[in-house]
Amino acid sequence: MTKSILKLKDISKSFSGVEVLHRVSFDLQPGEVHALLGENGAGKSTLVKVITGYHQPDHGDIYLDDALVQFVDTRDSRQAGIAAIYQELSLFPDLDVAENIFVGRHPQSFGLKVDWRKLYDEAHELLDSLGVTIDLKQKARHLSIAQQQIVEIARAFSINARILIMDEPTSSLTLSEVAELFALVNNLRENGTAIIFISHRLEELFEIADRVTVLRDGNYIATTKSKETSRDDLLRKMVGRTISSQYPKTEAPLGEVVLQVDQLTSEGLFTDISFEVKSGEILGMAGLVGAGRTNVAESIFGIRPATSGKILINGLEVSINSPQQAIGLGLAYVPEDRQQHGLIPAMQITPNISLPKLDDFAKYTWILNKKEKKFAYSAALQMEVRARSIWQLAKELSGGNQQKVVLAKWLSTHPRILILDEPTRGIDVGTKAAVHKLMSDLAADGLAILMISSELPEVIGMSDRIIVMREGFITGHFMRSEATQENVINAATKDVRIENLS
């Protein structure tokens, strides 16, 4: 057995009296990719933050190269050669992409003056090696979630750390970006870097990880070599039961066209988008990062109304200029960015869930607390939100549970049309199956569902029909029977400009 570079021993951590890590041990060797696996709220992110010194463990020791260390803050751990990408994206919205990569470590000339040219050159190289082109002078404020994730990855790679920690770096990336990322990870691994990798996509673990450590409810369960284990085995360790079918889309009878979008255009964002969704149908929207899918969804929901084109609901043309109107018309939109748009992190679960439909719990604008509480409780139960109580602050929940609160909040408005933007982003396998089942049931109940997802298996498995977007245009349209990974990817990477010219 080789010497480990990082070793955790009996780490425990509680938040306000509730233990979220219980005597967890873990070891990491140079030149390995070590995956952490566990349900939402199992304590993976907390463990990561303990390693980087963001949280202090209540109990237990951390050894770096067999020497006992104590990190007071993240700066300490960085000096010790540990770099991390946290689950909560942490870019500087007002700084440009290049500077975001080098914040705190700007290259200097004469040990004094920031060398801007060098900074841009190096940033360019880094993004190139990740296989993406992002305008280096773009302010991070204007980046999509996926672009932000890429910048974070670039930042982590630029540090040349001995230990690289990535907490769900791929949750909004598509296949091709993930492939490029893994190529880089392989490089690092060969150079002896130790990598901790967290993802809820099991296929990724099998592809990249050497070993997998499973956590359940804050307890250490097992560490196995990924070659010597199987999907079912991991799932059993993770949830203590087996999970059967993953994409339980049942055929539902299709009804009338509920939502019809006709030549919707928003200058600079998307052009001539037309599609329709019937009641009982799930329409999948695939595409690469930055294809403009979220923009379409947001304009349908009235957040940024389109400049031209028509939206018809139940055959009647409507104009939607604000989310209130959209909600009134029976639409619901689960946004991509739960921290910024989905949740109010500093508020409790209950008011978060009741916010879109406060009218239902009020008499003459007077809020009826009992009614609200009862409602929020049943909504949270239905979505299996794991938390101490519905009065816990949303920001204290684990990432996946936050996503469940957002889902609970929108489903409880009883919409007729549901738009889901990356609905299972950051959700663990068990819950994901539950969400998929829920979607299926909702469709069967006659809802029209528009689902945007970057995960191809999910799109292909769950949708009745699929439309593919690229750079603001629709470039493909497939029935469930004809959709394969290949032709969807082809459509997603087809060059629209040439096509439009001819």
């Binding site: 963001y54 803050d73 993240t74 700066r75 960085r78 000096q79 991390a84 946290y86 909560e88 942490s90 870019l91 500087f92 919205p93 007002d94 700084l95 500077e99 914040v103 705190g104 470590r105 700007h106 200097q108 004094l112 003056k113 920031v114 296989g131 993406v132 082109t133 992002i134 305008d135 002078k137 773009q138 204007h142 980046l143 999509s144 996926a146 672009q147 890429i150 930042r155 600079g268 964002l269 690469l288 990062v289 930055g290 294809a291 403009g292 750079e471 990477t493």
Partner: protein, 332 residues
């Protein structure tokens, strides 16, 4: 759109992009417009003498507004600058009355030291005491002003009690340009270099943009925040000495209400109240715009009773215009 990740395509560069990156378009347009209108009514506006007057009038404002800017960049605000100026001016005035022979550079150093100390008191309350900046400095605004009263017992230092050396500090000229303007220019350049070309300067932007992320990135936000209030105090200290020099007195109400002017100059200059955005050029232009407005209103003979209203209105128009132009530019 260049905002999307597009594979293997080079981002297009166009005029709008360049304009969008040059944040100060809005204010320059407004200055030119205002200048044109005023020149039509009062040709004496476009004279060297008049511009020297304008610059003299805004030099101190520009210096202190730069300190204010550095603070606002971190999402903070320093409302106590006016009282710091009042306090330092009074103390410096007392020293000079008592010891008129003191060399001027010692006086300047004294002012800088006193200002820094006052500023560091703000820093301590804000970083160690975790008091939100607007509250901490709202408190010290009245505390420092109270100290001025306590210190002076309500008395003033008058022009005839001050030595010639201090008066020459601002009125002396180099190549025909008043020292005061040169000092302001010098300080602006230093602050520009600091913010643009030092790690600390960049870290100030980072902290203002996202504190949590800054912490993740290994910056110690508390240190940066400590520093910015210190700098604001330092620049207020310099401002105080120049104030005594230019107005040849130190009074209990010196610089009363000046804090809002510094914030106004910063804000007109495109500094974002929510942190992370702002440039030295913008702020200096903001201060100049304020100076031009004041000057122009007198030149075109607006009734003194209506001048304040006109000033307020023009400030409003400036920020609205800036916003409209900037969003237009950003959209294209």
């Amino acid at each position: 759109m260049t905002t999307q990740i597009s594979r293997r395509t080079t981002p297009r560069i166009n005029v709008w992009d360049l304009l969008a990156r040059f944040r100060e378009v809005g204010i320059i347009v407004f200055i030119l417009l205002l200048g044109a209108v005023v020149t039509l009514r009062a040709p004496s506006f476009l004279t060297v003498n008049n511009f020297r007057d304008i610059l003299m009038n805004i030099s101190i404002l520009a210096i202190v507004a730069l300190g204010q800017t550095i603070v606002i960049l971190t999402k903070g605000i320093d409302l106590s600058v006016s009282s710091m100026i009042g306090l330092v001016a009074m103390m410096v005035g007392f020293v000079m009355r008592q010891y008129p022979e003191t060399p001027i550079f010692l006086i300047v150093l004294l002012g800088m030291a006193l200002g820094t100390i006052a500023g560091s008191f703000n820093s301590i309350i804000i970083t160690f005491g975790k008091v939100p900046p607007i509250i901490a400095t709202l408190g010290t605004l009245s505390v420092y002003r109270g100290l001025v009263f306590f210190y002076s017992g309500g008395t003033w230092v008058n022009s005839f009690e001050l030595p010639q050396s201090i008066k020459m500090l601002s009125k002396g000229r180099l190549f025909g340009v008043p020292n005061l303007i040169l000092i302001a220019l010098f300080i602006s350049i230093i602050v520009y270099l600091f913010l643009k070309f030092t790690r600390t300067g960049r870290n100030i932007y980072a902290v203002g943009s996202n504190v949590e992320a800054a912490e993740y990135a290994g910056i110690r936000p508390q240190r940066i925040i400590f520093l910015v209030y210190l700098i604001s105090g330092l620049l207020s200290g310099i401002g105080a000495v120049l104030w005594v020099s230019r107005f040849e007195s130190a009074q209990t109400n010196t610089a009363l209400g000046f804090e809002l002017q510094t914030v106004t100059a910063a804000v007109i200059g495109g500094v974002s109240i929510s942190g992370g955005v702002g440039t030295v050029t913008g702020v200096v232009l903001g201060a100049i715009l304020l100076g031009i407005i004041q000057n122009a209103l007198t030149l075109v003979r607006i009734s003194p009773f209506w001048q304040l209203a006109a000033q307020g209105l023009l400030i409003l128009i400036a920020v609205v215009l800036d916003k409209v132009i900037y969003t237009r530019v950003a959209r294209n």
